[in-house]
């Protein structure tokens, strides 16, 4: 009973946290320099892991489906199939899950350790608005960078698919991309890209919320980082289901 009460209290605190975020967002001026720094930390420093994941997914997808398509004589559709699968679903979700692991844990631990070592109190007592400096900047950076990282992961996944295909049949890069992009249009790509901004928002808000309210010393820091990853992973998957259904209803 006590734990159920605590869950509802935490949900109420999270809603209040979201309200504070939106209230801070409309107040000028924003911390532009810090937002840019966080975009670099979150975006540029995730390039390697997101790139490797994207490339591998494209290659695996091509290798796994090539033989099945060949059985029905549809090997020529492989580039289109990879493109649709990657751009609509696999690219966004894999990028979000990889970033939630790297960035969610990082933000949870960083803000958590700032909380337990009183660095956030130091900002507060110096009238420096730590919420705007630490939370708003990170949430915005996550929300803005995830679509960009997804575009990058999608491109590498398509490239990975091409490299995997090259082992089996001789196809030029131009023909591959022509074939891959044939069945794609804005209503296929844009909603999928739009949902990655939602995934970025989920990672940023959950990690900041958990890090910002950390207590219990170094053990609490570890706990915040771990829960940030677990919760954002679950919430990304749930949001994906809801957003895919919504996209189908709106765009067919």
């Amino acid at each position: 009973m006590a734990s159920i009460k605590r869950i509802f209290e935490d949900i109420a605190r999270f809603i209040f946290f979201l309200g504070r975020f939106f209230a801070s967002l409309i107040q000028a001026p924003q911390e532009k320099g810090e937002i840019a720094r966080q975009m670099y930390e979150i975006g540029a420093k995730s390039i390697l892991i997101v790139g490797v994941a994207g490339m591998a997914i494209g290659m695996v997808l091509a290798m796994q489906t090539s033989s099945t398509l060949a059985r029905f004589g549809g090997q020529g559709l492989l580039p289109s199939m990879i493109a649709v699968a990657v751009l609509r679903e696999i690219g966004p979700i894999i990028t979000a899950l990889v970033v939630s692991g790297r960035v969610g844990a990082g933000i949870g631990a960083e803000l958590g350790s700032m909380r337990v070592t009183e660095q956030i109190d130091a900002m507060e007592v110096a009238a420096l608005n730590p919420f705007r400096y630490l939370v708003v900047t990170r949430v915005l950076a996550c929300t803005l960078m995830l679509p960009l990282l997804t575009v990058y992961a999608n491109f590498l996944a398509l490239l990975g698919g091409y490299f995997a295909m090259r082992f089996e049949r001789n196809m030029s890069l131009q023909l591959y991309f022509d074939s891959a992009l044939r069945f794609l249009n804005f209503s296929t790509v844009l909603p999928a890209l739009g949902k990655t901004a939602v995934f970025g928002f989920i990672i940023g808000t959950l990690a900041c919320f958990l890090g910002y309210r950390t207590s219990g010393g170094t053990a609490g820091v570890g706990r915040s980082a771990m829960i940030a990853v677990v919760l954002s992973t679950i919430m990304i998957i749930v949001a994906d289901v809801v957003l895919v259904k919504l996209t189908i209803l709106l765009f067919g």
Binding site: S113, M114, T117, E118, Q119, D121, A122, E124, V125, A126, A127, L128, N129
Partner: protein
């Protein structure tokens, strides 16, 4: 001037402050003595507006802190310096950036002016050489000095010290105490310091108050406290002498 009247603070079922009243005249240093967990830090955090007391009044230079709207609280905090127990320096910033972060956000100054103020404050605490170092490269005592310099960067009228000498060797602790005394004499700041060190209290205090089980059980000069017949205070002084 700081005036605290009948302050109460409770966490869950535990009463931490139970009717604390204190008064610090302008330009003087009040040291609050007490054992660990006696509520000293809670008292200081209530004073800085980091914690909201359940009941009572805190007046800083005539302004009521309890229930103060955020804008007014922010203005008051700019007149306040807070030295944290473990310095609370920003890990990701150098010493210069730590001080500049507080200074540039509250004062419109040219870069050269900013640099002059930062150097002056670091010189005061004897840490000018550490300007480009990061907190992780500094010892505990050095971090406390930089924490003090950062608290002074806006030239506050009031400084709050949270265990300024805890965890330091006797020589470094004495040096930090000297800085506290110099600051009072040279800048005329009003200060409240919490500690459990009698040596530190004797060196820095104009007056001393003893916090025990959420109440002030004695207050006066260090000598008056030393002469107290209260069993807790007698035991406190006796054990400290043994150590």
């Amino acid at each position: 001037m700081i005036a605290i009247t009948n302050l109460h603070k409770q966490f869950a079922q535990q009463t931490v402050l139970n009717g604390v009243s204190l008064h610090v005249p302008r330009g003087e240093t009040l040291v609050i003595l007490g054992r660990s967990g006696s509520g000293k830090s809670v008292l200081l955090k209530c004073l800085a507006g980091l914690l909201m007391p359940d009941r009572g009044s805190i007046k800083v230079e005539g302004t009521e802190v309890v229930g103060l709207p955020p804008k007014e609280l922010a203005a008051l905090r700019q007149r306040l310096g807070y030295v944290f127990q473990n310095a609370a320096l920003y890990d990701s910033m150098s010493v210069r950036e730590n001080l500049a972060f507080h200074l540039t956000r509250h004062r419109r100054l040219a870069a050269e002016e900013c640099e002059l103020i930062i150097r002056e404050k670091l010189r005061f605490v004897g840490m000018e050489a550490a300007l480009d170092k990061y907190p992780a490269e500094l010892s505990g005592g050095m971090q406390k000095r930089v924490g003090l310099a950062r608290a002074l960067v806006l030239s506050p009228e009031i400084v709050l010290y949270d265990e300024p000498t805890t965890g330091l060797d006797p020589l470094t602790a004495a040096e930090i105490d000297q800085l506290i005394v110099r600051l009072k004499e040279e800048a005329g700041v009003t200060a409240m310091s919490i500690t459990h060190s009698l040596d530190s209290a004797q060196r820095t205090a104009d007056s001393v108050a003893v916090l025990h089980e959420g109440r002030i059980i004695a207050s006066g000069t260090f000598r008056e406290i030393q002469a107290s017949t209260h069993p807790f205070i007698k035991q406190y002084f006796a054990l400290e002498a043994l150590l």
